[in-house]
Amino acid sequence: MSKLPVAPEQLEAHYGPHLQFPGGKHLQSGLEIDRLVKTHCCFCGQQCGIQLKVAHQQVVGFEPWEDFPFNRGMLCPKGIKRYLQGGHPDRLLTALQRDPAAAGGFRPLEYPQAIAQTAAAIAKIQEQHGFAAFGVLSGASLTSEKAYLMGKFARVCLRTPYIDYNGRLCMVSAGAANKKAFGVDRGGNPWSDILGAELIWISGANVAECAPITTHYVWQAREQGARVVVVDPRVTPLARTCDLFLPIKPGRDVALFNGILHLMIEKDWLDHAFIEKYTVGFEKLAESVREWTPRRTAQVCGLNQKLVEQAAEWWGTASTSFLMHARGIEHHSHGVQNVLGAINIVLASGRIGRENCGYSTITGQANGQGGREHGQKCDQLPGGRDISNPEHRAHVAGIWGVAPDDLPQAGVDAYELFRKIDQGEIKGLLTLCFNPKVSLPDSEFVARCLDKLEFYAAIDFFLNETAQHADIVLPGSLQEEDEGVVCSAEGRVIRIRKAIDCPGEARQDWRIIQDLAAALKRPQGFEFQHPGQIFDELRRASQGGVVDYSGITYEKIEASYGVFWPCPSEEHPGTPRLFEPDSWNVVARGQGPFYFPDGKARFQVADYSPPQEEVDEEYPLILTTGRVISQFLSGTQTRRIGPLAEMHPAPWLEVHPQLAAKLGLKAGDTALVESRRSSIELTTKVVNTIRPDTVFVPYHWAGRESINRLTIAAQDPISKIPEYKACAVRVRRLEHGS
């Protein structure tokens, strides 16, 4: 049984989060530095270049890396203080075994014994209940080598269909819509195309806090005369000085895009030649947006009609543009439709595939892009291949040295995997780089599922809240302790460099996976000596696929500050900008720039539906959630970095003054927020930078401070992304707290 071994307070006392501040070596002026290691930030999908300072086998600080072209030395506070994970008191230095009698709920275990016990438990479950009774959850902050190995490990060693990853909570709506419309899932442009765009459209992306470096690109474009349109329920820091702000009601983005397209058609702001030559499906789409008059659009979106018309005019008449979006439009039960709506107005404008004309989702996690390319998704094989396609299966099976029929079929998404645990179908779990107890919606359900597991093993460098349920914890590696590649939001494959060795008994994650394979007596295919060997196999596995890495080498990446895929041969320079008019790709084979046999992009009818849980008399307010600048995802890392945690030590409730007046709430009051699933007490911030019908709570915290106990597990039917950005709540003031 994988219940918490002791009370949460005891776990916290032993395993944190404790705050580490600069001290000792960090503060020594004139400390002799052994070396500076050029690598990238361990946090978001921007993947800023950074140099890590290493002294005495520890990362003790950083120096800006001004030569790296994407960020030219710029960093956000997360990157600046990341080094404080080095030598952190919470760092797991040994394997742990659950022990309710031990003070912190765990006792140290010799690493070989931990591997043997984990393998034995996996074998026992699989012998009794079949291979599919064991599940694997992985993450998109891992290098592509590790992500690739996790997919292979689940399918080849564990022979289970049940692997998925935390990118399920992140970029999948964009990925699914991109594949439907373009036939490929990658941001279309290098960020340099932002700089020359005349109009920049940002929907549902808090760029300043979640992708801070992109701010500079937007401001530089504006210096050259660009207009900036921001669509968001909140005035984000970047929205403050934008040229047009549309404070949309959460979950209505596709309605807005359809309304924009309606006006583009009515005013003939279309690129007919582009539509004719490079797309299919426009007539049907045009028919579907006929009903989206400005009046109806404004009504559904909760916006002033003039704003909608102004936005349409600017979008319709621009000669160059860059449209970006992020989780704000993607985290919905109709997230794919929202993204398709965005893509439709881009395609109708013809402004894609050329200089200063671009479209991209802003990928969230460090390897958000790469982590979704090489097979740790439940329905995918390396190279962006499809696990249900016989040819794709045959290619990958050949590389892996197994019979195609031995590869499992598609599994299920991460949330459904928990439902299978709940139903008793999955009895054992291995997690790496995923903290679902904090990051999944309706998370009290997730906690109950963890309790039901017969066996649970977690690999991590800190004991995250999910791992607290584990029977065995295996001590994994920090980003700076391993070699590999990741793929940034731009589609640029870059090198992560090892700066130091793992401390104590901690191991590089891929070695732990290989040790498990060996202990399971199925070591074949898991005998790599170096991440470079994994990468070489990944290249071969991706060869000929849409996501072709076969021409990318570590040396080539280092020589040119990264290589954009597809890169099908070593002579190939890579592909910074997708969809250029005369470009060749593996699907169209010269027929056209898009990744379909006829080379044409697909307009898709994008249907509007409201969020699954609409407000009503009982729960009259929309809750939307998001990130803050100093914290990252479930906070496993940033809640332990003192200076970052101090900037935002706890979540809060953001309400508009009009709503606050109605609720009798003042700034600083304790508010009780209730949804149909759970409730939370929060300190109130009264701000007129949010819609009065919407309240906002950031999501990085655990336990009683976790807003995901209240969010809804509604999911997009196509992408399976959860609806973090809209559910119904009620709010009332508590007298002096509870």
């Binding site: 800006p64 001004e66 030395g73 710029m74 506070p77 600046i80 500079h216 210096e223 820091p237």
Partner: protein, 214 residues
């Protein structure tokens, strides 16, 4: 020496309140663990506007003028330095007098460096700028609100902005080494209340103010 052609520019229009400047400042080698920058949130209830506050490095620094211990020195290349350890008596005159609100004397701020209370302020990363590097804050700032470069580079990259380095505080005119960027087309003149009045106001109230000609 800080190269003469290199200048510091602040554009609060660009600031996103991320505190990268604040966090990076404390990583500088000469003042490890202490940040010499602060970020002002103007009025969070009404706006997300924030402003990074770094030392303006005045030509004739008010902080130095009022220092009874003569602890604040300006280098020949125009950088106003942190109070000298051997002289600072922690009287806080500089804190009160600085028209830009830069020096701080929070208890303990200087303690990690000097072992006692000491006025510490931005020295434009003298250890970096004097060897040709950029100051830490202006290197990392992800919005470009803090910028360090030549005037030509600034003008080329920011055609919509205009630098100013002369400020009036009552009777005092202060010229600074650091520039503030304002929208190019905005008027230089300060607003005068009386220009905006339709008729002469109640003379009894007006008597409370003595309007001075600049």
């Amino acid at each position: 020496m800080v190269p003469e052609k290199m200048e510091f520019f602040i554009d609060a229009n660009r600031c996103i309140g991320c505190k990268a400047c604040f966090q990076a400042c404390s990583e500088c080698d000469t003042h490890k663990g202490v940040s010499m920058i602060h970020l002002e949130t103007i009025d969070r209830e009404r706006s997300v506007q924030t402003v990074p506050v770094v030392c303006m490095h005045c030509e004739d620094p008010t902080c130095a003028q009022v220092c009874p211990a003569d602890a604040i020195k300006r280098t020949p290349d125009g950088v106003v330095q942190t109070a000298r350890k051997s002289r600072c008596i922690a009287c806080s005159n500089c804190v009160l007098a600085c028209p830009f609100g830069v020096p701080k004397m929070e208890s303990g701020r200087g303690a990690s460096v000097s072992g006692f209370n000491l006025m510490m302020k931005c020295d434009m990363c003298y250890d970096r700028t004097s060897v040709g590097k950029k100051p830490m804050c202006a290197t990392v700032c992800p919005s470009g609100a803090l910028f360090y470069g030549t005037r030509e580079q600034m003008q080329k990259e920011r055609p919509r902005s205009r630098p100013i380095n002369e400020f009036r505080f009552g009777q005092q005119t202060v010229k600074t080494k650091v520039n503030v960027l304002v929208p190019r087309d905005s008027a230089l003149e300060q607003l005068k209340v009386t220009d905006a009045l339709g008729s002469q106001p109640d003379i009894l109230l007006l008597g409370m103010y003595q309007e001075e000609e600049p």
